[in-house]
């Protein structure tokens, strides 16, 4: 029963995408939108059924595999179209289809009037399908297929407004960076096939212990490469901020609920491999820590409302990487879930603002929106507090459990804890810089213009947009109560059988981590209040630092100089030295030779009848002589 529900969950969005594509203009745009929404909610219903089924079983029976058909078959490798239903995949199914469904519903209002709405909704359903395939895959190859399809769907959605050059460039960038991760993952899988002869999770994990440590490190590194690319961690992070060129609900779908969390899911799913390669697992945690600090710093100077939230996403996924890198799998997954709630909430509230201001995304043009959009302001405030980790909102429980795990992980863990605490300060600072700038203060000229001086003139948005925001506001508040350290931890127990945690922080560590994290977060909010809320002080004029941060640490420029320019230079050189003289030249030479030979042979055609007759007679004479001679 659970497994049938899982199949329905997987294929409902695909059916939705297919139906919208096939029916084309025979259905209205609104129908297409509802079709897409319903298909994703059907998937959610399937996920809920599977979840309830699994809840009713004992912990040992919760893992179920279902193979519909053999997908690939060679002499010693057989790979089936296999779905895996276990607590981990069901958790991801619930998050992906649940938050995804709310986002698709929200899109109905947000994308209303776009000339290519049908295409948009077909892509959205397809994206959810790809993501569900990724999390439900019962073997590594199917996971890679979902992984690649997610990359494709995100490419299509980021570049949805294809007449804008920035959007197309951003889409290509995302695709290429993700393809890099796909490639490293594929290489890891090749090593696994070579060494273990299988790509089934169970077989691989059981046989991996026999591999040499070098190969294990390589495999884990390959998987980490994929995870880092998909989750936009340093050094493969540059695509995520640019991906904000897509429609806002896409940003919410990709950067909150689904795509970027795939890396965290992968590490948890493949945790036996990572545990056999502890260096790489530490590397994952370290990359997460670096990312969470760097992204927090860059978020401080961004002026695009969506880009600030995008950097905040990078930063929060950095926390998740720290968690799963240290072996606190349930904590990482827990933060993944709460983050899906409050980050989707923040994106969608930002989307309400952008929608209200007819596409304006520059926070310097905003201000005082609290008076115009009070409900949105509350939703955004709740999301911000949850993101910063103020109790009793969801982010508090999930982030602090990761920090506590870091504190319990020895010297390296304490280093990561310091980074995480610094990140918490930055989170408070950039989040409330955004909130204060956008919602508090005097209404800016743009805001006044949009409202003709009358508050509530345009309302806050259609119900399809406000309802998902309201639902997520509630979830962002209560989502964290699923796991309260030392009081009750159903979430941890639920995932315990899939991925047993490597660290168990003590009560004292839990309390210390929480106190410290909340303390520094409040300090961050306080600093933000001084500079942006009350505007008591002018910003420090650290021009050089500001410059570096505004250029995002020059990583784009670095990649440009290291990869792009040499490639262009080399291509130009090959063209000049190989293509034009050799390949192009040889073709020109062949044609010239053929033309010359033709005109030379043409000379023999005199046009005189007698010369042809002579040739015939001569040939006949020669033949006669030859025959006679041969005889």
């Amino acid at each position: 029963m659970a497994i049938q529900a899982a199949w329905i969950c997987l294929f409902a969005p695909l059916a939705g995408a297919f139906a919208i594509t096939v029916m084309g203009e025979s259905i209205t745009r609104r129908t297409a939108a509802w079709l897409s929404t319903v298909s994703v909610f059907v998937a959610f219903a399937g996920a809920v059924v599977a979840f309830v089924e699994l809840l009713g079983k004992s912990a040992e029976e919760r893992e179920q595999l279902s193979t519909a058909w053999t997908w690939l078959s060679t002499t010693n490798l057989e790979i089936g179209m296999t779905l895996l239903v276990d607590p981990l995949s069901v958790t991801m199914m619930l998050i992906v289809s649940g938050v995804g469904g709310l986002i698709v519903l929200y899109s109905i209002g947000y994308m209303d009037g776009d000339p290519e709405e049908r295409r948009y909704f077909a892509y959205m359903s397809f994206f959810v399908f790809a993501m569900l395939l990724l999390v439900q895959a019962g073997n590594f190859l199917l996971l890679l297929a979902g992984w690649g399809l997610v990359g494709l769907a995100s490419y299509l959605l980021i570049g949805f407004w294809h007449e804008r050059k920035e959007a197309v460039d951003a889409a290509k960038k995302a695709f290429i960076m993700n393809a890099f991760g796909d490639a490293t993952m594929a290489l890891a899988f090749f090593v696994l096939i070579w060494q273990t002869g299988s790509l089934e999770f169970g077989d691989v994990f059981a046989r991996a212990e026999g591999m040499s440590s070098t190969l294990l490190n390589l495999v884990a590194l390959g998987l980490l490469g994929g995870a880092v690319a998909k989750s936009a961690q340093i050094p493969l992070h540059t695509w995520l901020p640019d991906a904000m060129e897509g429609p806002t609900p896409v940003s919410a779908l990709i950067h909150a609920a689904t795509m970027v969390t795939a890396g965290v899911y992968l590490i948890v799913r493949a945790h036996p491999l990572f545990e056999l390669a502890p260096t790489i697992q530490d590397l994952a945690a370290g990359l997460g820590a670096i990312t969470l600090v760097v992204a927090g710093l860059i978020a401080l100077v961004q002026t695009d409302i969506k880009r600030v939230i995008a950097y905040s996403t990078m930063s929060q996924i950095g926390y998740m990487f720290v968690g799963v890198g240290l072996g606190a799998y349930a904590n990482g997954m827990f933060h993944l879930m709460t983050h899906a709630f409050f980050k989707a909430l923040l994106f969608m509230a930002a989307g309400l603002v952008i929608h209200h201001l007819a596409g304006e995304q520059d926070i310097r043009q905003m201000g005082g929106l609290r008076r115009v959009m009070p409900k949105t302001a509350i939703a955004f405030l709740v999301g911000s507090l949850a993101l910063v980790g103020i109790p009793p909102l969801s982010g508090f429980f999930s982030k602090d459990s990761i920090l506590a795990s870091a504190l319990a992980s020895g010297g390296y863990g304490q280093l990561l804890f310091a980074a995480g605490a610094a990140g918490a300060l930055l989170t408070g600072l950039y989040t409330f810089r955004l909130f204060f700038t956008v919602f508090l203060g005097q209404p800016s000229q743009l805001v006044l213009d949009r409202d003709h001086g009358e508050p509530h003139h345009r309302g806050e948005g259609p119900w399809t947009m406000t309802v998902p925001v309201a639902v997520l506001t509630v979830l962002a508040v209560v989502g964290g109560w699923l796991q309260i350290p030392d009081v009750w931890h159903p979430f941890g127990d639920w995932l315990h059988d899939v991925a047993e945690p490597l660290v168990e922080p003590s009560v004292a560590q839990d309390l210390l981590a929480s106190a410290l994290a909340v303390g520094v977060a409040l300090i961050g909010i306080g600093i933000a209040w001084v500079f942006y809320g009350a505007r008591r002080r002018d910003l420090p004029r650290a021009a050089a630092l500001r410059d570096i941060l505004e250029h995002k640490l020059y990583v784009d420029e670095l990649y440009d100089a290291v990869f792009y320019r040499p490639a262009v230079w080399m291509a130009g050189m090959w063209r000049r030295t190989i293509e034009e003289p050799l390949i192009g030249g040889s073709i020109a030479g062949v044609s010239l030779g053929a033309r010359r030979a033709g005109s030379a042979l043409g000379e023999t055609q005199t046009g005189y009848l007698r010369s042809y007759a002579l040739a015939i007679a001569g040939a006949a004479a020669v033949l006669v002589v030859v025959f006679l001679a041969v005889q």
């Binding site: 005109s599 000379e603 023999t604 055609q605 046009g607 005189y608 009848l609 007698r610």
Partner: protein, 102 residues
Amino acid sequence: MDGPDLAWYLIVSAILFSIGTLGVLVRRSPLIVLLSLEIMLNAANLALISFARLHGGHDGQIFALTVMAVAASEVVVGLGLIVAMSRRRLTLDVDSFRLLRG
């Protein structure tokens, strides 16, 4: 078999054929070229009939008849062309028709 040897017939046939060929090659008037062609065809006929007589069969004779029919048709077409050309007051010189020149 009465009369001269086969070789004599063939020699006559070869001489006739050579005369015809030479005529086709060197003469410029289309009319003469056609006449030379006829000589060549009849040289072939002579050879065919000689061999037919030698073997006592009829095949060669039938071939010869066919060649005559072909020759007659060819003359009809060729003469028709020549008449058409002279009607249009074109020069009756085969060397002036060299559209096939490369």
